[in-house]
Symmetry: C2
Subunit: 132 residues, 2 copies
Amino acid sequence: MNAEIVEKLRGHGIQPSAQRVAVAEYILATDEHPSAERVLARVKRRFPMVSRATVYNTLNLFVEKGLVQQLVLTGGRVVFDPWVEDHHHFIDEATGKIHDIPWDAIEVKRVDRLKGFDVRKFHVVLKGRRRG
Amino acid sequence: MNAEIVEKLRGHGIQPSAQRVAVAEYILATDEHPSAERVLARVKRRFPMVSRATVYNTLNLFVEKGLVQQLVLTGGRVVFDPWVEDHHHFIDEATGKIHDIPWDAIEVKRVDRLKGFDVRKFHVVLKGRRRG
DNA sequence: TATTACTTTAGACTTAGTCTAAAACTTAAT
DNA sequence: ATTAAGTTTTAGACTAAGTCTAAAGTAATA
């Protein structure tokens, strides 16, 4: 059992069961922005008996405790992202792959001046192609 | 049958059946960003026998022909937007309601300078509260 | 009018997300 | 160490939205 992950879960107020550690080991190390179903498929490799409810419950708990972020960017898919700090997203339309874009790579102005809206959070969603 | 809508459908290369006109009358006039299920519920008021497949097929055709835009912004919901020109979106976290923000209300810079990415399209997604 | 092409229907199917009650496991108390 | 309390997982059922299918209905063309 990965001691570093255990500590990290505890630090976020999460009781580290074997299944939760397995989920965290995958989700915290990936830059794939996986769906819950993909997480389930991956965790099943180590825990063939793991139940769907456990994986979904675990992911939802991780989001609730701020360990990962849940995104909805394309195709109705909910995906998970270990990068919880503000950043932007680029979606490669050829592959469907989602790429993280550092916050400062793009400059956004006048967000605070929208009439009638209190903006708590924002980010830019970009679509196009990855350059080979 | 609404002649204006019929012409608009034809103009987009869409054969105007009664069901398609009913869907268009609702989707082109609303600023609600409805889900397909909501469109189905609304169209059922006029066409109680309309089938789910017809509504979904119709919405997907409208997107394909550029009559409406399909968005994925929150909660895994796919929603439809008659405003096909570039604009931004504000999601009211209290109500779930999606608001259109004019393109020029926000300034976004340096998008063209992202290393390794050809950006075809982008917009800003904002979350917060609508001010009373 | 007949034929061809297109659209809709009704119901079945799929998938991802949730619910449920019981079993299993962990932690706390004695 | 044992018991009790609390938490987590399981297995399977359920739900809702999106898709598929084959037949029926409608529109366009010859």
